[in-house]
């Protein structure tokens, strides 16, 4: 481990760009024009790439660089620094992110040239670069989580960049909320992991048993190994942690069941789709699983979950991609599918293969998206492939770069995608440590590979071949150099990446990237394989041939159906199977199902809570108030009518009695005398009577 004080610059420079163009962008743009913004926000990511490359050169063989800024949180057992670390894996990621990111910044100069929110766009894009690099270079899980949610925020901001259209705003919100579901999983996984390191749940209570707590990546492998046999709720705690972390990865990397946000995320500007929703951010989940490889190797269950989800997603998304007409939607589903491949790779224990596919995919998928962006611009923001055609003649650079990226993604051995995908498929077949046989995973990925080839070539043929269309009365034009240069650079990258992953089968030495990443993935060496290292060459050759074969099949099928847009076959096929077509075309109605169950249920629950709060709880409070007032009224009534009434009643009685008795006072002497006599008589009688009684 080597201390350095440069690493912080890698995320720091884009952050500076984000702050500058965020705070000063508007006046700058007004006074100096968009060039001022470009100068700041495009150059800084390149500077960041430069620093990353410099650090990469300094990276010691098999070691890592470390850069600590300050203590971030230090409370009790939790000690987390604001620190960055670069090991081979994060070096690879940082280089890829900063290079592809910088290229896409350049492309954006052309793509966003007419947008009044230019400064805002670049501020968000810089902020994304910062977050992504933070995610990649963060020294501990918590800091990684900062980047993790930061990229989610930027994704939200950029999907909803054209916020005046409510559809975009909704798509952004969907992305953020679905990502948050994943983040919830990530957080729980993080907590499980943290507490299982230094203690244990026994008999329903947690006990610290002298272990060390840490979230730092360099301490974790040893600590995790020590926690391998701890359990919670009867399940190994590492399995739980691995699965919860993978839920996070599902959210970020758009796997079943949380993939639904990614196709909608295409509402954002196309360079954003290329950078965030294809090349970098969505691969964060794969990066995380690869980074946590030391955790997953201890849990076959978690690895099986990862591999199976990846494989099923790869196939599932590929089938949807086959029937889409929106060029960006095709690419979006293709991204979901390719991410599935990466998860197969990391899930079967071939962490380097997954990472390699991540790297190659970053180039060819960014290239595909940017070509699509170029086409969309040429078509005046028309994205429906049915309305395109024959663009190959007028847009040669776009056409050939797209063609090459298609070659790469469908897995022909002249581009990088072949090497990475093939390694993944072979390793899936080779996996012996899963709960399911490796060939099941392989089969799912294999079928998906054929579909991939088919739908990618379908999109190529639909867009670039056939009779030329005209838009607004003239032919679509090739884009400015600022765009085409980027396309070319990415295509070259997609080619160049081949050389670091040429399999041992072809050469005598293991792939360069595998060797380079080996120190990070040392934990995976102990995993059980079907074939011992160096054995199984025949099978590997066979699988490779099968892959090329099915890719050719997909290409041929697409050629047959869509080449030159002449064939009537697709329409007839659709007519033949209307129901199946409708089901797949509508993406298996997953969005609708989620909408009617989860979303409606959620909103219903919230309305119920709101009603409960205002009517029941507050009702009870007000009832208490009303009861108190009622009681006070009764009390007042008693006071007014009973107590006061008694007093007033007596006075009334006296008055009335006086009125009546007044009559007795006749003023006549005789009456008085009669009274006198009567009185005496009564007195006498009474006296006699009483005397008798008392005597």
């Amino acid at each position: 481990m080597l201390e350095t004080n440069l690493l912080w610059l890698i995320p720091g420079l884009p952050l500076l760009g984000a702050v500058l163009s965020g705070l000063l962008g508007k006046p700058l743009q007004r006074r100096f024009g968009k060039k001022a913004i470009s100068a700041v926000s495009v150059l800084l990511p390149w500077a960041s790439f430069g620093v990353a490359a410099w650090c990469f050169i300094q990276l010691p063989e098999g070691g890592s660089l470390h850069d600590r800024l300050w203590t971030w949180i230090a409370i009790g057992p939790l000690e987390v620094d604001l620190a960055f670390a670069m090991d081979p894996l994060s070096a690879m990621m940082a280089l890829a992110v900063s290079l592809v990111g910088s290229l896409i910044h350049v492309y954006s100069i052309g793509y966003m040239a007419d947008d009044e929110g230019y400064w805002r766009y670049f501020s968000f894009l810089n902020l994304f670069m910062f977050s992504m690099l933070l995610l990649v270079l963060g020294d501990n899980l918590l800091l990684m989580f900062v980047g993790w949610e930061g990229v989610g925020l930027c994704s939200y901001l950029l999907i909803g960049f054209w916020y005046r259209d409510l559809v975009n705003a909704r798509a952004g919100m969907k992305a953020f909320v679905v990502n948050r579901i994943g983040d919830f999983g990530f957080l729980v996984g993080l907590l499980l992991l943290f507490w299982s390191l230094g203690g244990e749940w026994m008999d329903g209570a947690y006990r610290v048993n002298g272990g060390a707590f840490s979230l730092n990546f360099r301490d974790l492998p040893d600590l995790v190994a020590a926690a391998a046999d701890k359990q919670l709720w009867g399940v190994p705690v590492l399995t739980l942690a691995g699965i919860f972390l993978f839920i996070g990865a599902c959210g970020k990397s758009a796997q079943i069941p949380l993939y639904v946000w990614l196709p909608d995320a295409m509402a954002g500007p196309t360079p954003v789709s290329a950078l965030i929703h294809a090349a970098t951010m969505v691969t964060a989940g794969v990066y995380m699983v690869a980074r946590m490889n030391f955790l997953y190797v201890h849990s076959p269950t978690a690895m099986t979950v990862v591999a199976l989800v990846g494989a099923v997603t790869a196939l599932f998304a590929a089938t949807i991609g086959v029937f889409q007409y929106d060029i960006k939607k095709v690419l979006a589903y293709s991204t979901v599918s390719q991410l599935g491949y990466m998860f197969i790779g990391v899930g079967v224990g071939a962490f380097w293969a997954g990472s390699y596919h991540l790297l190659t995919h970053a180039f060819f998928k960014a290239c595909l998206f940017l070509c699509a962006g170029s086409v969309i611009m040429a078509m005046h923001h028309e994205q429906d492939m049915r309305k395109m055609g024959g663009l190959g003649k007028t847009m040669p650079i776009t056409r050939w770069t797209y063609w090459y990226a298609c070659v790469a993604i469908s897995g022909f051995p002249i581009a990088s995608g072949f090497f990475s995908k093939d390694e993944i498929l072979f390793q899936a077949y080779n996996a012996g440590s899963l709960m399911v046989p490796g060939w099941i995973i392989w089969l799912l990925g294999f079928v998906a590979a054929g579909l991939t080839a088919f739908y990618m070539w379908r999109s190529y043929f639909m867009t670039f071949t056939g009779p030329a269309v005209s838009v607004g009365g003239h032919e679509p034009q090739e884009q400015r150099p600022v765009i085409t240069v980027v396309l070319g650079a990415l295509a070259v990258g997609a080619f160049a990446m081949s050389f670091i992953g040429i399999p041992a089968l072809w050469l005598d030495s293991p792939p360069q990237l595998e060797h380079f990443l080996a120190p990070v993935f040392s934990a995976a060496e102990g995993l059980e394989r079907v074939f011992a290292p160096g054995a199984g060459h025949g099978v590997e050759w066979g699988l490779m041939g099968a892959s090329i074969g099915i890719a050719l099949l997909g290409l041929a099928f697409a050629w047959w159906l869509y080449r030159g847009r002449k064939s009537e076959l697709p329409a007839r096929l659709m007519a033949a199977m209307p129901r199946a077509h409708k089901l797949v075309y509508n993406k298996y109605y997953v969005d609708e199902i989620y909408d009617t169950t989860a979303v409606r249920g959620f909103l219903g629950l919230s309305r119920l809570s709101g009603w409960f709060d205002s009517k029941v709880i507050d009702g009870l409070v007000n009832l208490c108030g009303a009861a108190a007032r009622g009681f006070a009224w009764i009390d007042g009534a008693i006071d007014r009518y009973a107590v006061d009434g008694a007093v007033n009643g007596l006075a009334w009685l006296v008055t009335r009695a006086g009125g009546k008795l007044r009559r007795v006072q006749t003023g006549r002497l005789t009456t008085y005398l009669a009274g006198l006599v009567a009185g005496v008589l009564i007195f006498v009688i009474l006296t006699r009577f009483l005397l008798d009684v008392y005597a």
Binding site: V664, Q665, G667, R668, L669, T670, L673, A674, V677
Partner: protein, 103 residues
């Protein structure tokens, strides 16, 4: 010959008292009422002297009666004076009409 005893006196006095009382209660004429009062007083006097003669100290009984007679005279004087005053004011001595003090 009938022996005249205390009882006889008492009966006579009671009769006298009753006559007086009736006179007081029944008559409207103020003078008649005054006469009735005299009768009552004298009934009381008769009782007193009878008790004195038959049972007790004759001297003190006699003294009481003498007082009583004087008192009756004085009372008659005051009563008559009142009656005359009333008559002067109301031109009448019918006590039923002199009810100005009624409540």
């Amino acid at each position: 010959m009938i022996h005249v005893g205390l009882q006889h006196f008492l009966v006579v006095a009671a009769l006298l008292f009753c006559l007086g009382l009736t006179c007081v209660l029944v008559r409207r004429n103020a003078v008649a009422i005054l006469i009735g009062i005299e009768l009552i007083l004298n009934a009381a006097g008769l009782n007193l002297i009878a008790f004195a003669r038959f049972g007790g100290d004759l001297l003190s009984g006699t003294v009481f009666v003498v007082f009583l007679i004087v008192l009756a005279a004085a009372e008659a004087v005051v009563g008559l004076a009142l009656i005359i005053a009333v008559h002067r004011r109301l031109r009448d001595i019918d006590l039923e009409r002199s009810d100005e003090l009624r409540g």
